[in-house]
Symmetry: C3
Subunit: 280 residues, 3 copies
């Protein structure tokens, strides 16, 4: 079976950067298949990338190699690494971009990508994607064992997790992502439906541990003078153009407009706090 | 031969949605090849998607499976379907997105994608692309027969066709698409050149049936006080920056600026009516 | 080994143009792999495309076929061509888009793509990418010899090279590209580091021939009242938000902001002149 390399970067598609990395990888592992997860992470936004990765990696088949390059510290002392779990390998800078997804694993092995044999002959100070990360991913795809790429290391740099807390009847989260449609995805999740009226919040972030049972009809939030309640099952539960709360496809509480843009209506930004009131 | 899955959506490339669908499909059919037609249909614009699909599907090889997700009704009662013609399979929501292209076929078979065996275990209410449509496309690519995916149904939801009418010496159409270059593509087509001076309009839309023969030199249109005439053979027939009428690469009457943007000059929008005068 | 076709165009990703070209190529050579270099060259900007191509083609494996379509003269008398070097084939319009990269080759063979057998049956006047260039690339990928595609020709249309000159202690170049991050890439290169303090400029453009040795600490430039000096080794050498000069990953002098956008700060455009002062 052909190996798959899945790419997630902040390189955008305006330049030749992504194409050049693929050219380099094909030269090392011609049979690799490439799948672009996205290249439109906001420039240098490591936490946005970590959240995007957390919510996408599980959909790839076992054995996939992830090439992840959002790298504001390129050329500094931050280490290039590869992390192997029982099902995947993640090639990335050690800047916390893997923090959220590795919290889902009990064990993994980390190596520093220091073996020059598996880098390009000349390594620039500004494009390790081309010179270190892409070659590493391609060599792994071609069957080179992880430990050939460099020595095992123990400690990873960590990013702060998205905010999630509860006090009295208020759940506080943050806006973790705003998508192409203008949907506002919060850090409040993961939510599962129990029956048509009740859902359970299994806190994925913050210091919360225990599941919280919520009645969809009693959840509300107020943002810039718009109060939105209750949690709906689908976009189509409200009229076209109507604001709604719902549980998005990755299990987070989401604010949307049916066939419209919630961000255009509410004017919020990634990182903003959001408070949700829950009834009794 | 490896099966091809061609994708057309309004998901954009800023998020992980397209990458996640490909990850899901690779898990089901690792040998599938993906070709992106476009992911930049305007959000929820089913008619624009139907027009784009009409003008692109025929360039794909026989056997291609099309995964088409512009789905404003996701989570509502609209059905997920697959439509098989003698040469292709189209996997899509039943919202009329296939109306224009299916008008080119005499017969086809429709099934409703209701067999849970070929969906993801948990189906969200907001991302059927990932949970229903992509799995269906991948299972079809892997050789599962159409009828396994669900029962045959007879009737499809239809979208209104683009406007095209003629009254006296006036042909009325609408603006069906505006491309990346700013070229304005109308619904007036399909046009074939007969000789350097004469062309034939074979009406593709509207209630018109019979071909209409036009002299290129006698066709003119007036938009926002700019009169454009005659129909030119190529962009280079006018000076750089000049407005022109021409027959575009899919056979529609098109308004363009040589090495510039017609939409920036004329300020029109998709859906606007356009009137063309024809001489005698 | 599956043949690779690498694509570089100004078609953008909003339309179906790129997908349609891939569909056409798959019909001719189903085993071809496609790698997108970029489709976001500024519309009709042949020189920007030539520069992007110069700095990306070498990263692809030998045998790669390049499909390059930035074609303001489509439908005019400019010729469609294919150029074979000892390692690659470039399929493109003869408008100078290959000027910069072919300067790196001592010999190559050019054919005009005039054999109708290897074009689509009907050739439009506005989309030779679909009707001539993509079919040629796919037939070459499928093993058709170059000379079947048309007769050998001798002369290529040339684009002016990017400006690069030296007078006294002033090096003058131009802004050749501005990337997605807002980094400003100049035509001043190729630069190699000799030791941590000294670098050598091997002029790639202009009438300069001999290498010039520079001390990084003595190079400065002034743009819109911002003076930037010296040349740094990496983005991280200055504080976050700080302007810096550095040698970019393709060897050109580059103006950047650490974790920010230099173009937003300086307000320059592609094609603008840039002067650099060098100390003694």
């Amino acid at each position: 079976m052909n190996p798959t390399i899945a790419l997630l970067t902040d390189f955008g598609l305006d330049d030749t950067y992504v194409g050049v990395m693929k050219g380099v990888m094909q030269g090392i592992c011609p049979e690799a298949h490439f799948v672009d997860i996205t290249h439109k992470i906001n420039p240098q936004n490591v936490r946005q990338a970590a959240f995007a990765l957390l919510n996408s990696y599980r959909y790839f088949q076992s054995g996939t190699i992830f090439l992840i390059v959002v790298d504001p510290g390129v050329g500094s002392t931050r280490k290039p690494i590869a992390v192997q779990t029982h099902d995947y390998v993640f090639v990335a800078p050690d800047n916390g971009i893997l923090t959220y997804l590795l919290a889902e694993y009990e064990s993994y092995t980390i190596v520093e990508l220091s073996n020059r044999t598996y880098q390009r002959n000349v390594v620039s100070n500004t494009f390790h994607g081309r010179d270190i990360f892409a070659p590493a991913a391609a060599h792994l795809a071609a069957g080179i064992p992880l430990f050939k790429l460099g020595p095992e290391i123990e400690y990873l740099f960590k990013q702060p997790i998205p905010h999630l807390s509860i006090e009295g009847s208020t759940i506080t989260g943050e806006i973790a992502h705003i998508d192409h449609f203008g949907n506002i995805i919060t850090s409040i999740g993961q939510m599962d439906w129990v029956d048509p009226e009740t859902l359970t919040l299994h806190p994925r972030f913050g210091k919360l541990r225990d599941p919280i049972r919520l009645r969809a009809a009693q959840v509300s939030t107020t943002i810039n003078h718009h109060t939105i309640t209750p949690i709906q099952v689908a976009y189509s539960e409200v009229e076209r153009g109507g604001l709604l709360l719902l549980v998005g496809s990755s299990g987070y509480l989401e604010i949307a407009v049916n066939q419209g843009s919630a961000v255009a209506r509410l004017g919020v930004s990634i990182g903003d706090r959001i408070e949700v009131q829950i009834g009794v």
